[in-house]
Amino acid sequence: MTCQKFFVALLHWAEFIYVITAFNFSYPITPWRFKLFCMPPNTTHDVVLPPGISKNTSDLNGQYEAAVEAKFNSSGTYFSNFSSKPTVHCCFWSEEDKNCSVHADNIEGKEVVSTVNSAVFQQIGANWNIQCWMKEDLKLFICYMESLFKNSVKNYDLKVHLLYVMPEVLEESPLVPQKGSFQLVQCNCSVHECYECRVPVPTAKLNYTLFMYLKITSAGVIFQSPLMSVQPINIVKPDPPLDLRMEITDSGHLKISWSSPTLLPFQLQYQVKYSENSTTNMRETDEIVSATSLLVGSVLPGSSYEVQVRGKRLDGPGVWSDWSSPLIFTTQDVIYFPPKILTTVGSNVSFHCIYKNENKIVSSKKIVWWMNLAEKIPQSQYNVVGDHVSKVTFPNVNATKPRGKFTYDAVYCCNEHECHHRYAELYVIDVNINISCETDGYLTKMTCRWSTNTIQSLVGSTLQMRYHRSSLYCADVPSIHPTSEPKDCNLQRDGFYECVFQPIFLFSGYTMWIGINHSLGSLASPPMCVVPDSVVKPLPPPSVKAEITVKIGLLKISWEKPIFPENNLQFQIRYGLSGKEVQWKIHEVYDAKSRSASLPVPDLCTVYAAQVRCKRLDGQGYWSNWSSPAYTVVMDVKVPVRGPEFWRMIDENTTKKERNVTLLWKPLMKNDSLCSVRRYVVKHHTSRNGTWSEDVGNHTKFTFLWTEQAHTITVLAVNSIGASLANFNLTFSWPMSKVNIVQSLSAYPLNSSCMILSWTLSPSDYNLMYFILEWKILNEDNEIKWLRIPSSVKKYYIHDHFIPIEKYQFSLYPIFTEGVGKPKTINSFTQDDIEKRQNDSGLYVLVPIIISSSTLLLGTLLISHQRMKKLFWEDVPNPKNCSWAQGLNFQKPETFEHLFIKHTESVTFGPLLLEPETISEDISVDTSWKTKDEKAPTAMVSLLLTTPDLEKGSICITDQCNSADFSEAESTKITCEDESRREPSVKYATLLSSSKSIEIDEEQGLINSSVSKCFSDRNSLSKDSFSNSSWEIETQAFFMLSDQHPNIISPHLTFSEGLDKLLKLEGNFLEENNDEKSVYYLGVTSIKKRESDVFLTDESSVLCPFPAHCLFTGYRILQDSCSHLVENTFNLGTSGQKTFVSYLPQFQTCSTQTQKIMENKMCDLTV
């Protein structure tokens, strides 16, 4: 029994060992594809076979059986008999194995495993391709099964299952699992006749051994694979590489790069399949590399490159990934690398280029670069990298200016004189975006603003603000932190983006920048760091008040400190007169504890507006807004500065002993009353009654009875503070009313609103306090007007509305301490002013008369001239018969000078005068002309304005002078006439001598000298040409003028302007007692001819327009009596005409008396 038990135990042990041995014979799954061959059981019945089972199974049955029989019972197992269906023996075969592992059921229902020649199964049975792998995520195990025979056998009830088991513990030699431990997974048919079995594998068990087998059921037949085993980590199949790309390096090589999967715990190796197809070259390369990029040689223009990459575990078994999608890279005839550049302003960028022209690559030395087809890039920026690669560098690039939709600069690589149409694109973005931040007054919110309006190069980019907050303060140099947060910003109406941080960390550093996302990449603006505490804009100071301090008179402004910030603050006050447009004045307060300021203001009785703002004393942050304005209230500040100025009116109708005196005063202005007057008080003082006061209220007139010798009055102004301290006194004294110290008083009107008065005083022993100037319209009983004038003043301007046609009475009262003195009264303006007005009024009458007369005269002269020419030319002998005229062409004389000069050259002047013709009837030389040389050649206008001796000059002093002027208006009449140049060169000269000698005053001499100075050329010509003194006299006679015609050429002087000029002389005439001086004006008209005439008439004081350009252009001076006629022709100034004196002895003139100016006549001596 013991032996039997021993043998039984031995038998079981042997059986156990057998099983172990059988399972250890599991098929190791390879990383590559293997085949599964299955043979039906030894029956030849024609069954409907599943896909993959060959039809010729029966034909080969004998061979199959023979093969099986040969190695039967070589191995077996017990567990395969799990169903009653017939089981087919299968075996695996891979490219490395020649034998197949066969499973078969024996009679006892146990499966046996044997090995047969795989060639047998290749000919018969069902065959599948199988590949198993672990996905890249290392979580899913997949077995993929594909039928080898693509016959048309009907897929009849085919089911595929995978049974697997994963041990719980990692073992180096795992035991064969029990039958019941296998888990069943159904395999799904993903595509036609392909099945995929998925087994989830925990990541922690990637190194465990996975046991499994396949069971294929079809038409009641079960095909069962041998047991398979695998460690999942050894068959990991990565995903294909991503992001495959090709680019050209700076050296002109093609670089293939890709991205590796990031999930795998091991490195990968890559296989690159690359082909190049160009006109000159065809090649294919297959390389295995461990890096994620590969350089494949120089790139060629006009070529096509195709590349694919796959990956596999580098240092261990694994499965190749699928190939990546093929990437095709085609190069153009002109290759730019990089083809596009995105950069920031100020950086340096470079482009490379290979240029192919007509199947030939251009030498890099012949390549030139252009920008935007408009600007050739200097060759200094070129570099030759190789034989065919040219490089251009742009240093310190500026921002691209968008041109329409083109937001880049086009960079062209050209072959000497031609450029290919392709170009590189340069995008230069100005990223200098300024971000400004401001913390609110409550220190809870920081608002940052930035704008891109001014940056055109940002068009097309998307912007986003990013920031990083440090715990405290900012770094010295802000930098872009790798961990940043985006910040939403809102676009405002003003084009700014506004980003709000709330709540804030007051002392943290916020580093901010703008991220710029462009289609070519990303850029960032320079980062800036802000501590919210340093950009606080405080709230405006609250409780601002303004007032004018009583009795001090200062503008006091008070305020309170805003609740935030807690730092020391400085304040700024602005104040000004309240109104629509306040003229602000600024006052700074740097004392942080100060809460008020008192400021002096000029006007205490006006409403002032004041505002206050604040800022941190250390200068950080911003000024707050101005507080709401505070206004002062006008109220009495002090007692009135002074009492009112007052004057009196005395009722003359009363008796001398008692007079009614009415006091008048002007209401005090605010500046004097500070700021209002409640009432006035009149204070009396007499020697008999002492002092008493009377309250007048708000009236400005008060009447009292003056009965005593002296009565002193004081008027006080009273406001809410008190009575004025400084007041004016006026003493009415009988004795003093006879004291006369005002010697003279003169009034000169400046214009209708201003009058100037001057006076002279005689010495006095009395204490002169001031003057009262009183004026009114004469003979009218309207109110008087008065002014208080300080005692030191000698002249005074009165501003009033003066009516020119009215006469005024002016009275100047000296006010002494002892009483009111005797006034000086004048009743009208000065005589000069009256005359001036008269002259001015006559001006408007005479000017039209003169103009019309001039026109008439001109017409008369023209007619006379024509008539005389016609009349006399018939009797004129042929001048060529004269001895002096030999050789002269009178038909075409060059000039009269030439005529005369030639004459003097050929014949002396003396004999000419001996000719029988009479030159002139009478030549009178007045002795007064002798004085002319003694006069200084002073300009006449300046003479009028500056000479102190006007009474000796053009200004007539007395009325008698005026009358005498007119009576003595006999003087030389000088008539000047010329002919047109186109006329024959004949000049008619008429010399009229005056019947009387002429009184020539000094002024005429002055005029003569001054004009002579201007006419120096003409005079010199005369003197040179004539030795006879009569000609000198003739010349000078031109300037003979009567004294009532001052003949002073002066600018137009109006009523006021004339007095303005006089006022400049006031230092002279005001102090010269009553020497009234008459002011004379020169009457001058000008005619725009070569020779203009000037008519001086009796009414020559009429002011005529006298344009400056007409001065001295030519004169015809006429007087009542004409005794001489001297032909003088002047050509002065800028007329450019030549001066000449014509003389023809054949013609003589006789004098003609002309009684009036307008009746000038020209006479010929021959008549």
Binding site: L443, T444, S470, S471, L472, Y473, C474, A475, D476, P503, I504, F505, L506, F507, S508, G509, D533, I563, F564, P565, E566, N567
Partner: protein, 164 residues
């Protein structure tokens, strides 16, 4: 657990390295300004303007303090109040909580200049959610009152250049 102090030290060191150029006087001034700012903020909260001086019981988690405080104690109290404030859901306290965080960093900066090393404050164990939910108003008033008193004391102490 051991990594906590290390991380805190590293953070502090990082913070110090960033602001090493900041003068100590500025740090002191900013600390005082921030304390005053927090006090003003507390005073500005509407229900904190008229608080009775009655003792409120049941809120024993609030830290007590003495009239003389060292920098270390200040830091602990700040951290405790900071944790309480974070647990209070009032919007009014978000800004104060941020200010407290800034204040704590400033205090640590100030202490580091004197060679003081702070210990991490122990977790707040007794602040129970049930109390917050049931007595939110009371808690907020009492906490803010306590915080204000503490800050006023701290402000006075900073004038005397306190020790660690």
């Amino acid at each position: 657990m051991r990594g906590g102090p290390l991380c805190q030290f590293l953070c502090l060191w990082l913070c110090l390295s960033c602001v090493e150029a900041v003068p100590m006087q500025k740090i002191q001034d900013d600390t005082k300004v921030l304390i005053k700012t927090i006090i003003t903020r507390i005073n500005g909260i509407s229900h904190m303007q008229s608080v009775s001086k009655y003792m409120v019981t049941g809120l024993d988690f609030l830290p007590g303090f003495q009239s003389v405080l060292g920098l270390s104690m200040m830091n602990e109290l700040l951290e405790t109040y900071q944790k309480i404030l974070i647990n209070l859901p009032s919007r009014n306290l978000m800004q104060i909580s941020n200010d407290m965080e800034n204040l704590q960093h400033l205090l640590q900066l100030l202490a580091s200049s004197k060679g003081c090393h702070f210990h991490q404050a122990e977790g707040l164990q007794s602040l129970k959610g049930s109390i917050l939910e049931a007595s939110l108003y009371s808690t907020e008033v009492v906490v803010l009152n306590g915080l204000k008193a503490f800050l006023q004391t701290m402000l006075r102490q900073l004038e005397f250049n306190p020790e660690c």
